[in-house]
Structures are given as C-alpha cells and as structure tokens.
C-alpha cells in the first residue's frame, strides 16, 4: 500500500474522528445525567455551523428568533408548573433566564451583525444562540418527562430531532453553506500538511476531554452531576436539583455540538440535514464507549473516523454500511463482558 495515501487517509480519519469524539462525549454526558439519548445532537452541529456561516455573511440567522420563542415557552412552563407556589425570586429567576437572556442575545445579534464583524464575535454569538436553544430544549421537551423510561425519552428525542431539522430548513434553506476558516495557518510535516483548522480540532477535542475529566472528578457541580446520573432520587434527597443538572448537561452538549459544527463548516459544505449523519457517527463512538466512558468514546470515535476514511477510499459505495455494521461485534463483546445486570446482593 502506498504510504502517502495511508498517512493521508489516517490524517483525514483522525480529523473526522476528533469531531465524532467531541459529539460522542456530549452524548455520553447527556445520557449519563438525563438518560436521554440525544438524537438532536446533529441539529446542534448544523445550527452552530450554519448560524456562524450566516453571521459571517452579515445575515441574522433565524435560530436567534427560535431561541427567543423557546425562551417564552420555557417561561410559560416554569410559571405553569410553579403555579401553586409562585414567589418573586422564582419568577425573577425565570424571567432573567428565559426572557432577558434570549432577548438580549437577539438585540446583541442585531447590533453586531455585519459583513465586517470579527470571526471571534460571530463564533461567540453562534455559540450563545445554540446554548440557549439547548438549555430551553431540555426545559421544554425533557424536564416534564424526566422520570419516564429511556424509551419514551428516546422517542421524545426523535421528535425534537424532526422538529429542529424541519426548522433548520426554514432558517437556512436547502442550499448548503460554508464559512471562513478560523485561521489560515498551516504546518507541514513530511508529506502531510496540517491546517490551523485541523490543529484546532485536535486541540479542542483534547481540551474538552481533559476539561470534562477535571470537571467531573474534582468540582462539586461535576460530582453532583455524576451523582444525579448514578441515583436520581439519592441526588434529590441531598438537595441536588436534578432539573438543573439536566439543564447543565444540555447546555454543555449544545455548546460542544455547536463548536463541532463551527470547526467543520470551513472544511465542508453543510446542509440543514447534514448534522444528523455526523451526529450518528459520534453516536456510534458513544455506544462503543458504552455510553459511560469518556476516554473509550474518544478512542472509538478516532477508530470510526479512520475506518470511514479507509472504506471511503476502498469501497466508497459501502462506506456507511461498513461504519454502521462495525458496531455490532463491539456491542456483542460489550454485552458478554458486562456483568449480569440483575444480579442481586444479599
């Protein structure tokens, strides 16, 4: 085999794999805390990428209006569920989070938008928009059914995916978009050329893995999130607000999704529905990681990226078939290795 081609495929695979790893991490995080299998993760990717792309051309993306609308619904839900015990602090908090925050964001977007807005500002705005959507999505769609089965949550998750993908078409149109690169720097090592973009991908992935590890291992909030994942009732009994844990998880996941999207959109043209397939591959990595292990998920994601790169070179027609069936033997091995779930202690 030609070494240059192999190295090139490896590099390509690792870059894609790093993106899948980011998404896989977010999926694991959300599942661990809320038991929601986050199918709309792909929409966070497209929303982040395409909002950024539109901002870069000086247009206001429709997503910011969606954030305002979702904020209003979230506010209404807050009021409805607390109707028997409304007190000022609660209402003020809800107004601040659900109304003031998205409206201020809307104002900020209109004030700052323009063809010459710096890239960093556009990125920040895109991230904030998607973060708000992620936060409200949990409040609206999942918090009211947080106690139900994984299956019901999963179906609700699919519903969110359908709605958000449809809205994506409304906001961004059927045409694909691309955005300016984050940096034009590049490093050459032997036959390989590393762009600033791909270096940013590696850096952010490693940064997130380390960051999440520190967060969950050493901070009170991180431990509280883990506790929620391990035992919901136990967490509530020590005063941890599980609804807050869920919101934090969704916030992190939406930001991670949006960052992934912003990292990809300068490299490939993204369409309103591209996110789904990208999300699914992160998802495969997450499943291989058993929905619990961050490092394993990251490694699995890199493997998925590499397998994808090689199969698109050698059997491009069957690329997806190979990627998606890759998972079965892994699942079987994991199931065989897993201890008996029902085993009881005396």
């Amino acid at each position: 085999m030609n070494t240059t081609i192999m190295l090139f495929l490896l590099q390509d695979g690792i870059t894609n794999g790093a993106i899948y790893a980011l998404l896989g991490l977010a999926l694991v995080l959300v599942f661990a805390v809320t038991r929601v299998i986050l199918i709309p993760q792909g929409e966070f990717v497209t929303y982040g990428a395409l909002s950024y792309a539109m901002l870069a051309t000086g247009q206001v993306p429709g997503t910011v209006r969606l954030a305002v609308a979702m904020g209003l619904v979230a506010f209404a839900l807050d009021l409805f569920f607390a109707r028997k015990a409304l007190h000022v602090r609660l209402v003020m908090r809800s107004v601040a989070l659900n109304i003031v925050f998205p409206v201020a964001l809307l104002g900020l977007v209109y004030a700052l938008v323009g063809p010459n807005t710096p890239i960093a500002v556009n990125i920040a705005l895109a991230l904030l928009i998607v973060a708000a959507i992620g936060l409200f999505l949990y409040r609206i769609a999942f918090q009211p059914i947080a106690h139900t089965s994984v299956l019901v949550l999963l179906i609700a998750s699919v519903g969110c995916h359908l709605a958000l993908q449809g809205l994506g078409l409304v906001f961004f149109g059927a045409e694909g978009l691309r955005a300016p690169a984050l940096s034009s720097a590049a490093v050459t090592a032997g036959p390989l050329r590393f762009t600033g973009q791909s270096l940013a991908v590696y850096g952010l992935t490693i940064g997130f893995i380390v960051g999440l590890w520190l967060f969950f291992g050493y901070t009170k909030t991180g431990k509280a999130l883990r506790a929620t994942a391990v035992n919901r009732l136990g967490a509530r009994l020590v005063g941890i607000r599980t609804t807050l844990s869920g919101q934090i998880a969704f916030l992190l996941a939406s930001v991670i999704g949006a960052i992934s999207g912003i990292l990809i959109v300068p490299i490939t043209t993204l369409y309103y529905d591209t996110g789904f397939l990208i999300g699914l591959k992160g998802f495969i990595a997450a499943i291989i990681g058993g929905l619990v292990s961050y490092p394993l998920t990251a490694v699995a994601a890199i493997v998925v990226g590499i397998v994808e790169a090689f199969s698109s070179f050698y059997a491009s027609n069957f690329k997806e078939v190979i990627v998606f069936t890759l998972i079965l033997p892994v699942l079987v091995l994991r199931s065989l290795a897993a201890p008996q779930v029902e085993e009881e202690k005396d």
């Binding site: 179906i155 609700a156 699919v158 359908l162 993908q165 499943i287 997806e320 078939v321 699942l331 005396d346």
Partner: protein
C-alpha cells in the same frame, strides 16, 4: 370469549367501509397505509411493549419482504402468491441472523444495536446493484386471484386488512398461552423466568422472528400495493416512526399498535395537506409540527393512547370461572442416586477479588426445613444462586439427589425439582396472580408458539391454569387470583412467589426471606403451610432475618458470616453458640 365480539364487530365495520357510497378513494388509501403500518407496529408491540426488546430496525425487515417479492416477480417472473412464503422466509432468516446477535445485547445496547444495523441495511439496499440502488425496482405485478387483479387501493384493501385482523388474532392467542406468559415475563428480566425453565434466549429470538415476519408481510403487501420498492421507506426514519406508532398507541397492547398506526398515519396526512394552506406553502412544516406533537403527546400520555382510552371506558373484565377439576400430572421425578436431597460440598464463589461464598458445605435431607441465616452480605443469596444455577460456582460440588448441578443452567436445575422465590420479588406486575403462578408450571406443559396461535393448546392450558389456581388456593390467596400482581402488598407478593414455586411440583423449595413484610398472624400461617409441606414430603431451605420465625420453624440452622459457615445445628444449639452470638445475634437473652 370477551375478546371475540369486539374483534368481529371491528372486522365487519372494516369490511363494510369500502362499500359505503361516497367514501373518497383517498380514505381507502389512508386505510391501506394504516393497515400496513399496523402490521409492523403489532410486531413491535410484541417485541418491545410485551417482550421489552426495543427495535428501531423493523423497517429493514419490511425491506426484506418487499425486495424479495420485487426481485422474484420482476427478474424471475414468479407469481406474487408464491413469493409470499419466500418474503416471509427471507425476513425470518434475516431475523434469525440479526437476532442471534441482537438478543444477546443487554440493556441499552439492544435498541442502539438495532439503530446501527437498521441504518447499515438501509445503505445496503440503496447500494446493491440487483436491488436497483437508490431507484429501487418498479413494475412489480399486482396481486391477483384468477383473472381478478388487485390493482386499485380498494381491492388490495381487503388483502391488507385480512392480514391485519388475522395477525391480531394470532398475536392475542399467542399472548394468552404458556409461551405468551414466558414472553410477557421477559421484560422483567430473565432470572425469574429461567428459574422456572423458560429458555429466555429462545423466547427472545422467537418474538424477534415473529415481529420480523409481520414486518416482512407488511413489506410484501407494500410492494404489491405500490407496485414498486425503493430504499426510502425502509430507512432509519421509518424504523423510528414504527416504534413511535407503537408507543403512541400503547406499546403493551395489540390494538394499541393498530390505533397508533391510525393516529400517526392520519396525523401525518392531515399535516401534509393542511399546513401549507395555513402557513403558505412552507416546506417541511409538517415535520416540525409532527415532531412537536410527538413530544407533546408523550408528555400527556406516556403510556400511549390505547390504555388511556380503555381506562376511560366503563368496561369491567368479566370474572372468569375456572374449571379446577382437570388434573395436571405430577412432574416426572429425576432418578436419585443419593438419599441426601441437597448436598453442598465446599462450594466457593469469587467475584473478582471478593470471596462471596467460601468453601461452604451443608446438606438438606428429605422432609426437613433448614434455615440459612447470617448478616447481609454473608453470601446467603449467592448460595441460593449457586444452587439454582443463576451463578456458576468457582469451585466445589452441589448435587441434588446425587445429580451434580454445579454449572448447570437454572432451566436444568428446576427440572430436578428445585423451585425458588426471590429476595426482591420478581413477579410480572401487569399480569394477574393466576398468570404469574402459572409460569411456575411452565415445564409441566408442552404447547408451543404455533399451537397457541392456532388455539390447539386449550386442553394443556386448562390443566396448567387449574394447577395454578389450586396452588393459589393452597397459600390462601384465592380472593386475589384475578388481580394484577403489582396491586398486591409486598407481603402478599412474596406468598404469590411461593405459590409459583409450588407449581413446579418441587422436592426442594428455596425461599429467600419469605416472612419479610408479613404480620404476626400471616407469619404463623406461613409457618403452618411450610410445616404442612414438609410433612407432605417436601424439603425447605430458607433465608430469613426474623429470628423468632426461624427458631420456631427450622429443624436445622446453618449460619454464614463473610461467606464462611460459622455454625450448624438445631435452633437451640445455635442460640447458645458463642461464635454466632458474637458475629450475628449479639448479646442474646
């Protein structure tokens, strides 16, 4: 039968609909689509709602059914009716292959695995040359009877709905049988079912194949309805939608599948045709609204619409009278080579670095009540699990009447006449007491899935139910026989477990904390029952924390501490044993 009449009425209504004057042809098309979706959803009800195996991949089995007939009829000119068995067979074989892998998956891996192969198969359909790649296959001939060709939606309508009604009938028959009870027990975990001889992997594979064959049937009908097949309707989205249909309708109910299909198909149609008028031609709006309605519906009725509807109808299930005169033959006793009923010799169980059971030895003789006591974590339940084959011993010997059982699966151990109850009650809460207890007699019946579907199992079934009713009467729960097990108090549920164990016709009864949650009087009744069983020739090995109960009842006591046997003897001797006082009883009187 209470189930028959509504079914006949429903069938008549469905038969008349296309004949009504003025029915828009478009409605008939909708009903055709509903029927096609209902078939798949019904399989999912059995697989997911009843069996607890969530599958996102059912659309792929429709694909197998549709493509099989598409290829055979167009490329080889085979008659459509001849391709029906072929379509079902191909879906079934695909299900066996995928199922062998899938049913081994545990927990969340299972639904996730189905998403993965669902997507993989979709891409396979759309890439294979002989399946026409993305364009698919067109020009599939219509179904025909003699010269009559089912070309229009209102002719194939009958084919579709006959299939739906027949499948519904067969499915309900299956659920209300020996095999059905085994399937219904799957969702609550496999340990309890296996303890009574149910081959759970086989039962899981059975429902998996059943659901796939129904999906294959739907695919076959679809191909002849559309007269074409392309990959789109067999992709991940469709698989998700079928599951959604089942959940919306009520995943645990056969009619929930049909109802869900009606709701979803009509909802989608309404959204597709009216939303553009309201919002002025925006594309994709129906997906948005559809998605939002999905979330909304789950928030309002997470159990599905069917049970919600049923709970609002003033229907009372008729109290069934049961013929208890039919006798079930005694179980064939295993040949014994040893006078000792249960012989445990240096049994040891290691979990990683933890020694849960450390070379424990003791015997249980015929007509004897032996109690196993010790602190939590002493290895009592682990010992039970070693005896019943739930866990394999690391080393040592366990024999029932001289037949070595170490490392035999639970299904083999129960055949030797060892029946058990569980520390954490393992009943199926949405099955009646009678049905739960009848699972205990699983090995004493022999009707399979096919004979149950065709109702050839009734004589066998009557015997099993009569035996279950007798055991329920024996433990004093006749009043509760038709109640759902989940509605009983925990104490009563423990007694139901004892009745279920008695249905095995056991020689040795293993009871894990049978008296927990019972009141003084109930404990006395339980003790009396156990003595009566012993005097009738049965032996009992029990784990119990209530020292009063144990000391009063047991002939012999074995004390475990940290996995090690620290004492064995009569209650009087145990009470005075200094080691037992130090480790377990404390400063006794």
């Amino acid at each position: 039968m209470t189930q028959r009449l509504p079914l006949i009425i429903f069938a008549l209504v469905m038969a008349v609909i296309p004949l009504l004057p003025g029915i828009p042809p478009f409605w008939i098309v909708l009903l055709d689509n509903i029927g096609l979706a209902a078939l798949v959803a019904m399989g999912l009800v059995l697989l997911t709602g009843v069996g607890g195996l969530t599958s996102f991949g059912q659309a792929a089995f429709c694909g197998f059914g549709a493509y099989t007939t598409a290829v055979l009829t167009t490329a080889y000119g085979v008659s459509p009716w001849l391709t029906l068995p072929a379509s079902l067979l191909v879906s079934g074989i695909a299900a066996v292959l995928l199922g062998l892998v899938t049913v081994r998956l545990s927990g969340h891996y299972l639904p996730l695995g189905t998403i993965a192969w669902g997507i993989g198969l979709f891409y396979l359909f759309s890439k294979l040359e002989f399946l026409g790649r993305n364009d698919g296959i067109s020009g599939i001939p219509p179904l025909s009877i003699g010269a009559f060709k089912m070309l229009s939606p209102d002719t194939i309508y009958y084919a579709i709905w006959v299939a739906v009604l027949l499948s519904a009938l067969l499915t309900m028959n299956l659920l209300d049988s020996r095999t059905g009870r085994a399937i219904r027990a799957l969702r609550r975990g496999h340990i309890a079912a296996e303890a009574f001889g149910v081959q759970t992997p086989r039962a899981k594979l059975l429902v998996f194949i059943y659901a796939a064959v129904l999906a294959g049937l739907s695919g076959w009908l679809y191909a002849h309805f559309q007269r074409a097949a392309n990959p789109t309707p067999f992709g991940a989205q469709a698989g998700i939608e079928y599951l959604f249909i089942a959940v919306v309708g009520g995943a645990g109910y056969v009619w929930g599948g049909v109802l869900g299909a009606g709701i979803v198909v009509i909802l989608k149609e309404v959204l597709q045709s009216y939303l553009p008028y309201i919002f002025g031609g925006q594309s994709q709006l129906e997906t948005i609204v559809f998605g939002i309605m999905l979330v909304l519906l789950l928030q309002l009725a997470p159990q599905g619409v069917w049970p919600w509807l049923m709970s609002r109808l003033p229907l009372k299930p008729a109290r069934k009278t049961r013929d208890t005169s039919v006798k079930l033959e005694h179980r064939e006793r295993a040949a014994g080579t040893s006078p000792v009923l249960l012989h445990i010799d240096k049994a040891r169980k290691q979990f990683g670095g933890v020694l849960a059971v450390n070379d424990v030895s003791f015997d249980v003789n015929a007509r004897e009540i032996v109690a196993l006591i010790g602190p939590n974590g002493a290895g009592k339940s682990t010992t039970f699990n070693l005896i019943t084959g739930v866990l394999a011993a690391t080393s040592g010997k366990i024999a029932v009447l001289g037949n070595e059982v170490a490392n035999a699966p639970p299904q083999e151990v129960v055949k030797l006449g060892v029946a058990r109850t569980f520390q954490h009650v393992k009943l199926v809460p949405d099955m009646t007491v009678l049905e739960n207890v009848a699972i205990g007699a699983h090995l004493r019946g022999n009707s399979g899935a096919i004979s149950s579907m065709l109702r050839l199992d009734r004589a066998d079934e009557a015997k099993l139910l009569a035996e279950a009713a007798r055991q329920i009467e024996r433990v004093g729960l006749s009043e509760q026989i038709d109640q759902l097990a989940g509605s009983l108090s925990l104490g009563q549920q423990r007694i139901v477990e004892i009745a279920r164990a008695l249905c095995v016709d056991p020689m040795l009864l293993l009871l894990d904390e049978p008296a927990a949650g019972l009141r003084h009087m109930e404990k006395q009744r339980l003790a009396a029952l156990l003595r009566q069983l012993r005097d009738g020739g049965m032996s009992v090995l029990l784990v119990e924390h209530d020292m009063g109960f144990v000391m009063d009842l047991a002939d012999r006591i074995v004390v475990l501490d940290f996995g090690t046997k620290i004492a064995e003897g009569t209650p009087a001797a145990i009470k005075r044993n200094p080691d037992v006082i130090k480790a377990y009883l404390g400063a006794a009187a």
